[in-house]
């Protein structure tokens, strides 16, 4: 999976290359327009309109309803829980991502593809199963459940269960971002640092990390976005106790089921806004990255 979603530098931010100036890389006008129309139409139908729909529905009953929905105590507690779950699971997956990328990108060993596929696995596990596994382990009839109940440790239907489910579904994000990036950078720079007398940690902090920091941040951002938005897995382990164990996506479902569509879309729009802020930060990071790259090549 070498060439995976590495951090990309948007064309136009640095050394913009005009592909249409040279006949060798130019397409005929009709072809260019066809391609543009097709891909923009595709984009509009599948990405843009759903986003617009969320905000239109959210504001259908006006700003008053919108703000009431967001300042409802249950909504506020859902926001708090969502942020808490993300704040615990993202750093844990960050540390894992760095370790995995170091082992996979900087060393050769047998079974590497297999290990990478295992890391990808949570992507293809149905979220329902991602929640169910924790019930099978910590549930009343689970492996650890009876022991936990004896010691009055609550895992599922409480915050720890929600965190575990979130960690599971966001597991691959940072690792998948870092592995191709660190592979592309090779290991010469670190090797040079070691030969010059640096310790392993020094080589990592001073050489590797500065090289991959933007990719790392990008992975963290995607990981965080998914952590805040996860629905299926969290739904299984939440217990749905209003004001206590409902995350934002679960709160959306509840409002939707109460025929409170405007409020449901209002809370959904908060999640969409979080998504947009995420994307804005990401774009900003890419821009910074591009500038840093431009500066270093000059």
């Amino acid at each position: 999976m070498a060439a995976a979603a590495a951090l990309h530098v948007p064309a136009g931010t640095l050394g913009h290359f005009d592909y249409q100036a040279s006949p060798a890389t130019r397409e005929a006008n009709w072809l260019r327009w066809t391609l543009l129309t097709l891909s923009l139409a595709f984009f509009a139908f599948f990405l843009l309109l759903p986003l617009v729909a969320v905000f239109v529905e959210a504001l259908r009953k006006g700003w008053g309803t919108y703000l009431t929905a967001l300042t409802d105590p249950d909504a506020l507690s859902a926001i708090r829980l969502t942020l808490l779950a993300a704040a615990i699971s993202v750093p844990l997956n960050l540390v894992f991502g760095i370790a995995a990328a170091w082992a996979i990108a900087k060393f050769e060993f047998r079974g590497k593809q297999f290990l990478i596929t295992l890391i990808d696995l949570p992507f293809s596990v149905s979220p329902v199963i991602a929640g169910l596994v924790w019930v099978l382990i910590f549930g009343a009839q689970g492996w650890v459940g009876p022991w936990a109940a004896e010691h009055d440790l609550k895992v599922i239907f409480a915050v720890p269960g929600i965190v575990l489910a979130t960690i599971f579904v966001t597991f691959p994000f940072v690792a998948r971002e870092l592995i191709p990036l660190m592979e592309a950078q090779g290991r010469e720079e670190e090797e040079a640092a070691i030969v010059l007398g640096a310790t392993g940690w020094q080589a990592f902090w001073r050489v590797t990390l500065p090289n991959v920091k933007w990719g790392l941040l990008y992975g963290v951002i995607l990981c965080n976005a998914r952590a805040m938005g996860e629905f299926g897995a969290v739904s299984v382990v939440s217990g749905h106790i209003r004001g206590l164990t409902n995350t934002l996506p679960l709160h959306v479902e509840i409002l939707y089921n109460e025929y409170n569509f405007a409020a449901a879309f209002a809370v959904a729009s908060i999640l969409a806004l979080l998504a947009l802020v995420t994307l804005a930060i990401k774009t900003f990071i890419e821009y910074q990255h591009a500038r840093a790259m431009a500066a270093s090549t000059e």
Partner: protein, 342 residues
Amino acid sequence: MPPRHPIRILAATLVLAVGLSSLGHATESTLLNVSYDVSRELYKDIHPTFVAHWKAKTGESLTINQSHGGSSKQAMSVAAGLEADVITMNQSPDIDILVERGGLVAADWRKRLPHDASPYTTTSVFLVRKGNPKQIRDWSDLARPGLAVIVPNPKTSGNGRFTYLAAWGYALQRVGAGGTAADAAAREFVSKLLANVPVLDGGGRGATTTFTQRGVGDVLVTFENEAVLIGKEVGEGKFDIVYPSVSIDAPAPVAVVDKVVEKRGTRKQAQAYLEFLFTPEGQEIIARHYFRPRDPAVLKKYAARFPAIRTFSVDGLLGGWKAVQQAHFADGGIYDQIIVRK
């Protein structure tokens, strides 16, 4: 990227997590009512009244938490360890499962409260578009070719299960005779009806949304209280309710979860809470939410809301939940056979 930040953030968030979760342990008593999907508005109204009632009686302040979701899904969460003091469901198999799984509820739960431990009942009715353009009057109309009928999934929702059984019972009664001839007729009728179903939503609320918001279907079969609520909340004057000639009695059972209240020391509160549902005060709130109350006086007071309808029960006509569960809803049962052959 600041090197040690991940660890610091991690430490900070762990401290925060521990702090927040310890906030949850207050000194006053709490009760958790784990309930099905469409009862949230009802219990939202019950709680302040009961809390005040309990405070006046014992001086103890009480907090009641609510958890709502698909009935069976909720029962499963309780079986897996969700610490519910009381469960309030819409079909008794979802309480029986807690008797079977880990003995959370005592086997005689039906005997411990009046009316087989169900404080109210409801029934399956039809919701049609304004003016009833397709002239839907009774169950037999739902099997007419070309009609689109919206019902929730009988496998995953109590609402859908009652709809299915109501149609089955109607067909049985129409034939009149018992035995295999009636069963065959019922199966044919229900097959025709299910062939008219274009969407099977997971729960009652999903089916409502499909019918009302998405404009799919000519008729929605759902509980009476839902049908009235839709008329009020979702589209005033856009729908009519049709009462069929006969329908199913759908009582909503409640029970104290014995193992949990023993562990948490909340039996007193939990028992009082459920008993409150049967008091005139509780019954009044129930009636206001369009569930049919058990108390004859309250029922009489709200008679205008509840047109008389002939009903049959699962125990009376269909041989009880155990038999129904085995014959119809088990994997490979009659429901599966019908739906696969479609």
